[in-house]
Symmetry: C2
Subunit: 191 residues, 2 copies
């Protein structure tokens, strides 16, 4: 998605430690006209794939998942970090390592909202080492749900997570794919 690359070049910022800050348009402040385009692009990519549900992890994936869900007319479910007092009853649970924060955290989703009849599109803002995505795949596996694929706003391909998951036969689409990044500049993958 050419617009995502343009946005990253124009408004993104590389922070020390290999973090790409896109808070001005994607994951703290959200450019909603752009968000609508993201939703339309994800819907286009997965058109005809029989998706019944979109699954994401709070918080940064929620707006993207909601935009795609509105256009695709499918429900969105978000896995929560840590069990809260209003996630009651049976849950599926998995542990995810955060690259950004260098910690492990637990994510849960109520078993009511994910089941064996679902064909699930996984949505997130970033894909780096693939830990969050693997967590979502694990939750789908626990539910017996089928994974239709993943739609990621920004893939940091040089961290390898996306290709490792593709190698397992899972479709992974990223709207922008970064092949290399340093303090000076960002390079995108050749398509």
């Amino acid at each position: 998605m050419h617009q995502m690359e343009e946005k990253i070049l124009k408004d993104g910022q590389v922070l020390p430690g290999g973090i790409l800050k896109v808070g001005s348009f994607l994951n703290q402040q959200i450019d909603t006209a752009f968000l609508r385009e993201i939703g339309e692009e994800i819907a286009r990519l997965y058109d005809g794939s029989g998706v019944t549900k979109i699954l994401t992890i709070e918080s940064s994936g929620i707006a993207i998942a909601a935009a795609a869900g509105i256009i695709m007319s499918v429900p969105v479910v978000f896995a929560k970090k840590n069990k809260t007092s209003n996630v009651s009853g049976d849950v599926y649970s998995t542990t995810v390592h955060s690259f950004t924060h260098n910690t492990d955290y637990n994510v849960v989703v109520s078993s009511e909202y994910l089941n064996k009849d679902d064909r699930v599109l996984l949505v997130d803002d970033f894909l780096a080492e693939g830990n969050a995505l693997r967590g979502l795949i694990d939750l789908c596996g626990q539910a017996g749900a089928e994974v239709a694929g993943a739609a990621i706003a920004i893939e940091k391909r040089f961290q390898g997570g996306g290709d490792a998951i593709r190698a397992e036969g899972i479709r992974v689409e990223s709207l922008a794919c970064i092949s290399h990044m340093d303090d000076e500049h960002v390079e995108f993958c050749e398509l």
Copy 2:
């Protein structure tokens, strides 16, 4: 908003401790056709109010804020719980007491994303004692931004937060207003 009352009666569930669970359609699984209607209703309520930005708190307010923001064509900003490694630089910060979890937490927003030229619509899923909303009002005050008002999916009016904030001259609109709630049934406010 009549549809919100219907949804609560049909799919909501009262949990012990005065918690209304709406996870099946609003804040864990999201009914996206309904989410679009919520966005349209918020846009209708604040049409002509000169809103330049929508502010919410992660996580449950994000999808609602995004839906409203897409329709109103204004950016959405979400305050984060705790400072994370990719919220850099100057932040506005405030402390919020959570009714649901009975804990205090810190919320922050980068000062880049909220400023004195903004006229801000505050959006959240629930309004009970009003603590989260007061936190958002405080963040706007720190930024010198004007508060256009608040749009809340579900107000638990018997907990008093909404009326206390209205008494201070701030416009508060709720899409469903609950006057009384117990394990047996939910009663809505007379309009």
